[in-house]
Symmetry: C2
DNA sequence: ACCTGAACACCGTTCAAGT
DNA sequence: ACCTGAACACCGTTCAAGT
């Protein structure tokens, strides 16, 4: 399937080129990554890159994989919720270092082995927690989408500039038509990014999964009648 | 702030131009929306568009707002969960009609009045449910990110082609390093899109919010001791 | 006042030619 | 066999000129 790749006069490899491309994206933004500029930075002719990559998409796939491979999995311990929390936090901080990559992956599944390490860890944790293969897969996907959505659609930082922008937009709303938002404009601004917002959403999803797990095992073990059998407490065992 | 807009010889308005641009995006994809092609379709000179829009970003903002304004809010009734479910489903199907718009909004907050109607409805529903302004805002944001993440990162349809692609990627994985994924490849494929996956995630988030609401009101009304006081049952009242 | 062609500084990629 | 300049068909936007 993969067209055979030649081109070794410069001693370059796909991997090295992808690394330089990632650096270019990180320092100058996604729109700065053109085949011509990349070649310029590598000090090779613009067309030489096509000896290593079929086209730009092929290059972009390699860039995403390079970034994924660079982000090590955190050590996982504790309850399934704690392990998933650590995994997802790690994915988020890794992705946040290369936020432009979110844009790159829109509408294309992320299927390279490097990127699937975290999926393997997440899905297996969910299966150990008691989900079946289907639910564990669906559940991990929800967490995965949350990370990508959060990094892609949030402000890098919750700066005063962001807050001011939201407040200005709030001023444009009529209190008649938007009674809630005109009253909660400041609170809206706080949702556009930041650690607290990320943790809120992660907690909500994990709580939702836990609820699903409980009602599922109740259904299996005791039927709907024995449902509220006093989960001992909400704090996690350590 | 807004540079005064002139240009009326053709009887065109910003709104009309944005509508044509949206149509262009829907029929030929986001990459087909260039200032030159848009002008061509409008049968005006390429530079004339700049009489209506400061630059391409200004145009893109108007396109997003045009799409948002076109999607009417569903009628909301029932419990807060039912109302939110209907609202989020509506947002998803509206956005799914213009999936390229997700790409357009990456890294820029969505603050036009047209796009905020759904936020107003969502946040007010959450406040009525019992959340305070901060939590209601955070919670709606999680749901909003889910819709954008799902539409942006999912396959339009779960075709056999998608499934085949995932199975092929699964074949590349070593069962030693990826024991779970090699065993659950088919289940992974099913998470890449489709109604069932969307509903699964929406249900999880709503369940998580409900759990939060219960533990919050328990904390307020009875302290941590009276925590597991038998929520009557899990089915929704009608 | 309103519109627009020419021009500038870019793209991705094909193709034919260089070594 | 490997590399690459020229060329093609595009971009967004500035600027000076048209009516």
């Amino acid at each position: 399937l993969a067209k055979p790749i030649r081109a070794r006069h410069h001693g370059l490899s796909r991997h090295e080129i992808a690394d330089v491309a990632l650096e270019l994206v990180d320092t100058e933004g996604l729109e700065a990554l053109s085949m011509r500029r990349l070649a310029g930075r590598l000090e090779i002719g613009a067309m030489t890159v096509y000896g290593y990559f079929r086209d730009k998409d092929d290059l972009l796939d390699a860039v995403v994989d390079a970034a994924a491979a660079k982000n090590p999995l955190p050590r996982l311990q504790g309850t399934w919720k704690e392990r998933l929390r650590a995994l997802i936090r790690g994915a988020k901080s890794g992705l946040a270092q290369h936020p432009s990559l979110v844009e790159l992956r829109l509408r294309r599944p992320l299927l390279s082995p490097g990127a699937l390490r975290i999926t393997e860890a997440g899905v297996s944790t969910l299966i150990e927690a008691g989900f079946d293969k289907t639910e564990a897969s669906r559940a991990f996907r929800v967490l995965f989408l949350y990370v990508f959505g959060f990094v892609g659609f949030s402000a890098k930082e919750l700066t005063d500039e962001v807050r001011r922008q939201v407040m200005a937009a709030g001023m444009l709303l009529s209190p008649d038509q938007y009674p809630t938002l005109t009253d909660a404009t400041a609170e809206q601004a706080e949702t556009l990014g930041g650690e607290e917002q990320f943790e809120f959403g992660l907690g909500v999803i994990l709580d939702g999964l836990e609820a699903r797990l409980k009602s599922q095992s109740a259904r299996r073990h005791g039927g709907p009648g024995s449902h509220g059998v006093a989960p001992p407490r909400d704090t996690e065992p350590q």
